[in-house]
C-alpha cells in the first residue's frame, strides 16, 4: 500500500468515525428536545430553535472533520 492508498483509507475511516460521533450527538440532542417538547408543549417552539442552533454547531464540527477527510481523499 502506497501513500495514496493510506490517505484514501484514512479519509474513509475518518469520515465514518465523524459520522458516528455526529449522529450520536444530534440524535441525543433531538431526543432531549423531543422529550422537553412533550413535557412542556408551550415551550416547544423555543426548544426547536435552540435545537436547530445546537445541531448546526455540532454539524459545524463535523464539517471541519469532513474537510480534513476531503483533503486526504484529494491527495491522489
Amino acid at each position: 500500500m502506497d501513500g495514496y492508498g493510506l490517505a484514501w483509507l484514512a479519509a474513509g475511516i475518518g469520515c465514518g468515525i465523524t459520522v458516528l460521533g455526529v449522529g450520536n450527538g444530534i440524535g441525543r440532542l433531538a431526543a432531549a428536545a423531543l422529550e422537553a417538547g412533550a413535557r412542556q408543549p408551550e415551550a416547544a417552539g423555543d426548544v426547536r430553535t435552540t435545537m436547530i442552533i445546537g445541531a448546526a454547531l455540532i454539524e459545524g464540527v463535523a464539517l471541519f472533520a469532513l474537510v480534513v477527510c476531503i483533503f486526504l481523499a484529494l491527495k491522489g
Binding site: T49, I53, A56, G60
Partner: protein
C-alpha cells in the same frame, strides 16, 4: 490547451476517454466550483472578462480565448497561470462563473422586492396576495423569529433588518438557483460563502464595538472569567472570533456541495455499471435526494441567518437590554 477546458464529462455521454478514473472526482469537484467560463443551460459561453494583476501591472482580456491567443497566460486545470513557467499571477480578479450567478441572484432579489414594494405603494391598504404574501410572511418571520429575539433592542432591529433580510433572501435565491437544471450553485463555492461570512464577521464585531465600546468588546474577550484567567481565556476567545465565521463558511459551502456530489454519484452509478437496470434505483434515490436538497436549501439559509443573529446577540452581551444573561461565547 483547449482539450482540458472542454467539458468532456457532460458532452461525451458515458465513455469518458479523456479523464482517467482517479481524476473523475477532482474534475467533478472543479466543475462544481468556480471556473472561468460562463455555464448556463448546459452550454459553455466564453464571455467572462479576465482581470489580472501581475508584476505591478494590470492585464485586461475580453475572455479566456483572447487571453490564450495573446500568449502571456494560459489556463491550466481551470486556473490561470503564466505561460512562461506555469506559476500563477499575483492576483486574479477575473469575473468568474460564480460571480455572474451572484449578480443574477442579486437581480432576482432586487426585482422581487421592487415589484412587491410597488404593490404596497400602489395599494397600501389592500391585503397582500400571491408572491407579495410569500415575501411579506418571510420578512416578518426573519424579523420576529430571527432578528428580534437576538438583537433584543427595537432600535437595532430596525437598523439591521435590511442586512438580515438581504442575507436571507440572497442565500435563499442562490441556493434554490442551484436546484434548477442548467444553473450553478454560487453558494456551493467557498469564495461566496467566505465573503458572506466576512460581512457577518464585520457586522458582529462592528456592531459590538459601536454599541458597547472598544473597552466592553475587549472585556468580552475574558468570556466573563476573572482577570487572572486572561492568559487562558483571551487566546481562546480570539480563536472563537475567527472560528465562528469560518464555521459559517464551511457549513454553507459543504451543505450545498454535498447534495450535488451525492446526486452526481447516484447518476454516475448508471454510467459505472453501464446497465439500464440500475437506472430506476438511481433516479428514484436522486429524486429523494433532490427533495432533501430543497429542504436543505431553506434550512441552511435559516441557519446562516440565525447564527449570524445569535453571534451578534452574544457579542452584544447583556449591555443592550437587561433581560438576558448570556455572554460572548
Amino acid at each position: 490547451m483547449s482539450s482540458t477546458r472542454h467539458d468532456t464529462l457532460t458532452t461525451q455521454h458515458g465513455h469518458s476517454a479523456e479523464i482517467p478514473p482517479s481524476q473523475v472526482i477532482p474534475h467533478l469537484l472543479q466543475e462544481l466550483g468556480d471556473h472561468h467560463e460562463f455555464n448556463i443551460a448546459f452550454t459553455t459561453v466564453d464571455v467572462l472578462p479576465v482581470i489580472l494583476y501581475d508584476g505591478g501591472k494590470w492585464y485586461f482580456y475580453r475572455n479566456v480565448s483572447t487571453m490564450e491567443h495573446e500568449g502571456y497566460y494560459r489556463l491550466q486545470k481551470g486556473h490561470i497561470v503564466r505561460s512562461s513557467d506555469g506559476t500563477s499571477p499575483t492576483l486574479d480578479l477575473s469575473v468568474t462563473n460564480v460571480v455572474v450567478y451572484e449578480w443574477i441572484g442579486m437581480l432576482i432579489v432586487l426585482a422581487l422586492f421592487w415589484w412587491s414594494g410597488r404593490r404596497y405603494r400602489q395599494r397600501p391598504l389592500a391585503p397582500p396576495r400571491g408572491l407579495q404574501n410569500v415575501l411579506e410572511s418571510l420578512v416578518v418571520y426573519v424579523r420576529d423569529e430571527i432578528v428580534r429575539p437576538n438583537l433584543r433592542s427595537e432600535r437595532l432591529v430596525r437598523q439591521f433588518m435590511p442586512y438580515f433580510v438581504g442575507l436571507f433572501f440572497f442565500i435563499l435565491v442562490l441556493n434554490l438557483m442551484g436546484l434548477l437544471p442548467g444553473m450553478h450553485t454560487a453558494t456551493g463555492s467557498i469564495g461566496t460563502t467566505a465573503a458572506l461570512a466576512i460581512t457577518a464577521f464585520l457586522v458582529i464585531n462592528g456592531l459590538a464595538i459601536r454599541e458597547i465600546g472598544i473597552k466592553g468588546w475587549l472585556h468580552h474577550l475574558l468570556g466573563g472569567a476573572p482577570v487572572y484567567l486572561a492568559p487562558i481565556m483571551v487566546p481562546i476567545e480570539i480563536l472563537g472570533l475567527f472560528t465562528k465565521p469560518f464555521a459559517l463558511t464551511v457549513r454553507l459551502f459543504a451543505n450545498m456541495s454535498a447534495g450535488h456530489i451525492i446526486l452526481l454519484s447516484l447518476i454516475g452509478l448508471i454510467f459505472y455499471f453501464r446497465s439500464i437496470f440500475v437506472a430506476p434505483m438511481s433516479v428514484g434515490f436522486s429524486i429523494f435526494i433532490y427533495m432533501l436538497e430543497t429542504l436543505v436549501c431553506f434550512l441552511q439559509t435559516y441557519i446562516f441567518t440565525v447564527l449570524t443573529a445569535v453571534f451578534t446577540g452574544l457579542a452584544l452581551g447583556d449591555h443592550v437590554h437587561d433581560n438576558c444573561e448570556q455572554h460572548a461565547a
